[in-house]
Point group: C2
């Protein structure tokens, strides 16, 4: 994709937390801001102490605003924990860490939601005050909550993910509220627009970060009908997830823990799949699933890595253009 194409055509990036946010940052840095919309998963959202927490939106915002904590993959850099210490002293739950600075976002958002703002209103306002120029929006303003089916029963996502440290063995997922949730209207408008250049599925967890977006009413149908290329970047490199439980989930679900496994999950949806050089040997098998493959460096350490992967992914998508 040339710079010219990037400025003419709109790119939709579907993102979960840390890995997705890294690629979203790369895209934001190399694209005209008006040409990029980042759709964040909200099925990880939950209410804790009465506060509305949106982990993936927050990670995307903090990452784009250069406030993110690179060690944890969530929360803010240079965070302090006085609130949590006092909460423990008062007998409150302490399994979900909320940093003192991070808390400002949760308190402010919750207050605005309670006053009638939508999650996308608040997200846009927070992006604006953080100096973010690309559109960041929740997949939906309606609540969708990932429930994890495990050997220990059905667990709300954050209980599985944080409280139980992904230890229970996963047998499946259920997105509570998905049937009644409307995809964000701007997402649908972009997806049916003639200006749509590509849909990029960021290297996020396919099951709990990307699938909730895909399962929203009408999204899969629109994606199947769009003439714009759909490209996914593998979150698995050499059989490992860079961050989070994707690899463990794949194993427990009886899937190959590999880029090939992820490609199988996105079969019949994506036109192109981006894998790391380390997984070059899988390219033929992935192509046999009916998709093009780009082999490049997908492991993102530096800011330059993020920009390079973003550029390569955009160029790959442009090469797949159907119109």
């Amino acid at each position: 994709m040339t710079g010219h194409a990037a400025s003419r055509e709109h790119i939709i990036a579907l993102s979960g937390g840390v890995g997705g946010a890294k690629l979203a940052l790369g895209l934001a840095r190399i694209m005209p801001s008006e040409s990029l919309t980042i759709i964040a998963n909200t099925a990880d959202d939950f209410v804790h102490f009465g506060l509305h927490i949106s982990p993936d939106i927050d990670t995307v915002l903090y990452t784009l605003a250069d406030l993110a904590n690179p060690e944890t993959g969530w929360g803010r850099r240079g965070e302090t924990w006085e609130f949590m210490g006092a909460m423990g002293g008062l007998g409150g739950e302490t399994w979900f860490n909320l940093g003192d600075r991070d808390l400002a976002l949760h308190v402010l958002r919750t207050n605005k939601l309670n006053q009638g703002a939508t999650l996308s209103d608040v997200t846009a306002e927070m992006a604006h005050v953080m100096g973010i120029h690309v559109d960041v929006m929740p997949m939906s303003n309606d609540p969708v909550r990932t429930m994890v089916r495990t050997g220990d029963g059905l667990l709300p996502f954050q209980h599985y993910f944080v409280r139980d440290r992904c230890e229970p063995s996963v047998t499946g997922f259920y997105f509570d509220g998905i049937d009644g949730a409307r995809p964000h209207p701007k997402l649908m408008r972009h997806l049916i627009s003639r200006d749509l250049g590509a849909i990029i599925i960021c290297p996020s967890n396919p099951f709990v970060s990307v699938d909730p977006i895909l399962q929203l009413n009408g999204v899969r149908n629109v994606l199947k009908e769009t003439s714009a290329p759909i490209v996914a970047v593998s979150p698995i490199i050499g059989g490992r997830a860079i961050k989070g439980p994707a690899a463990k989930m794949m194993k427990e679900l009886g899937m190959p823990v590999s880029a090939l496994g992820v490609a199988g999950f996105y079969k019949d949806l994506v036109d192109g799949f981006v894998i790391d050089e380390e997984d070059e040997a899988s390219a033929a098998e992935i192509e046999a699933l009916g998709m093009s493959v780009l082999i490049t460096r997908t492991f993102m350490q530096s800011l330059e890595d993020r920009e390079a992967l973003a550029a390569a992914t955009l160029e790959f998508a442009a090469s797949l253009g159907k119109h």
Copy 2:
């Protein structure tokens, strides 16, 4: 009052924030814990960022738990301000300071209130986890909100007190919700109990800390009929308020800024009035209002000062016993 009397008879202490909490601590340290009930003013309460803030309850709790900040008179000792810094960065209001540790109490309380707990439930639970053994309870579980009549119009109390730093000239007060607010049932039970030993009005602001309690439905009537002595401790020493806007308010309301002025406010209600040695010259005039006077050191710097004033006040009350 002897130790024997203290263990037999119940003491009710009416308290606002810092000055009242100091005497409440003195009482708590020298009395059997089951014999003392501290009633905290809640007309200063307000909702900020959707969080229920109860400044006087909190100051009493933090003071009794030895967590209070002695410099500010509010909040916790050794507090940090990362939340406020981040809030400012996100465009949130910053005129009301909420410390990182203090915030845990507001978040926990708000969540419990939203789940259906009463303010007294939450106050009792927080007192318990803080290791406080005396009963601390809000004057009412119903919302009462002090509105300050000023040259700038009617201001909610915290806007007058914190945001505007008590600068507007006061012409009066209105307690929004007072007509419908029920005094805490335990307060009324104690006030009509045969075990009632005394009512102590702590050295708090007469207008905005004590008067809301007195104006609750039925409280003044019960106080007029009780045989237990009612003793107030002057919050004014030598024409100055130790903390807060009491002296400024008295001046603006055209009252003498003195212990005598406060005594006049409590005329026909209290049986005894405790003044500082510095105000000894006013004793005769105060007695002429129809109340006994105790002259003692009322300025509380050390823990010993708090205990000594508490002991002197209890002894004074016992000497006024009508039964």
